[in-house]
């Protein structure tokens, strides 16, 4: 496999992280910032519900983010955010 320059590889990784960051920022504006009142109300009224719903939200978000990152990986077709090409430079395999 032809190896790329480390500088170019890091630039690609940076660009791909920026794309992800933009998506996350949109997610933050559209979803996360609207949750605070609802979570605060639950925190003040019933901590058991708060605990289990909170854990549910963590699981749901983890799975959704996993899908987003996997989907991005397929679209850009550079394996995991360019990390494969970067690691090929240093890999011992």
């Amino acid at each position: 496999m032809k190896r790329m320059e480390p500088g170019l590889l890091f630039r690609n990784l940076l660009m791909e992280i920026i794309i992800y960051s933009i998506l996350i920022f949109a997610y933050y504006l559209l979803v996360l910032r609207w949750l605070d009142d609802w979570l605060m109300m639950m925190f003040n009224t019933n901590l058991v519900y708060y605990a289990f719903i909170g854990l549910g939200l963590i699981f749901i978000q983890a799975v959704l983010l996993d899908f987003v990152t996997s989907y991005l990986m397929k679209i850009i077709k550079t394996d995991q955010f360019g990390i494969k090409r970067i690691l090929d430079v240093f890999s011992d395999r």
């Binding site: 992280i17 992800y20 996350i24 997610y27 933050y28 996360l32 910032r33 949750l35 605070d36 979570l39 605060m40 925190f43 901590l47 058991v48 708060y50 605990a51 289990f52 909170g54 854990l55 939200l57 963590i58 699981f59 978000q61 983890a62 799975v63 983010l65 996993d66 990152t69 394996d79 995991q80 955010f81 990390i83 494969k84 690691l87 090929d88 240093f90 890999s91 011992d92 395999r93």
Partner: protein, 301 residues
Amino acid sequence: MYFPIADVTVNPILLMSVGFLVGILGGFFGVGGGFLAGPMMFWTGVPMNFVVGTDLAHMTGKSLVAARRHRALGHVDLKLGLNMVLGTIVGVELGARIVEALQETGTIELTVGITYIVILLIISGFTAWESIRAIQMVRTDQMDVDKAVGFQGLAKKIQAVNIPPMVSFPVSGIESISLWMVLGVGFFTGLLAGSLGVGGGFIRMPMLVYVLGIPTHVAVGTDLFEIVFSSAFGTITHAIKGNVDILMALVMQTGAAIGAQIGATATRFFAGPKIRLAFSVLPLLGAIMVIIRLLGGAMGH
């Protein structure tokens, strides 16, 4: 951004960055990363009672992402993980009771701190010594890099113990081992984790490799699978006590998700001994953090 539950204003980008950094470490080494995330969160201004619980909550999501990625790579032994969870839960509970007993004597901070430092230094020193030896074995004996382990004696003895029921773990390449040994490792790591107040990832990962003889990549993935359960349990416990800011954990997790995937994918490009050699630095960092905390406490008095 204002987080009303923790009653603190923290820059969300800073929290995402902490999640990202700890996510890379978690995905690559199979650790929760609480020993690094905790001080970083405290440094950003999060109240101490929310640091531990919120860190556990974000760790749950991050470990789930990393464990899913490792599973896709064939690095998670579900059967081993589920068997170990039983021993871990009992160990964590007993460890928590030991802490309660120590609290009554009033020496908990010093006792736990010194025990923690000693254990971390032993793990760090031993892992570094073993992995360097394994790398030398690969060079001198032309050994397959994935099979090179500089210390195999204990794992072979453990696998030779014949106390029924005997179980097999095909994913880990173990044909037969006593279930009691697996439960015992889970119990011991749970006991240390429960009494030291940590997730236990950097105790469990080397124990899986050196005591049970699990290949490094599978040990990392299976450890993350266990962390999902242990940190979820911890999240519920702390949240019921009002020590978790879920919104903050969700923000941290957005950064951790990508970090964990990068870390997990990165393990494909490094052989076991090199992963273990890099891993040996983590317990050392953890020990330094505890020493600083103990010295800070002593000076505070």
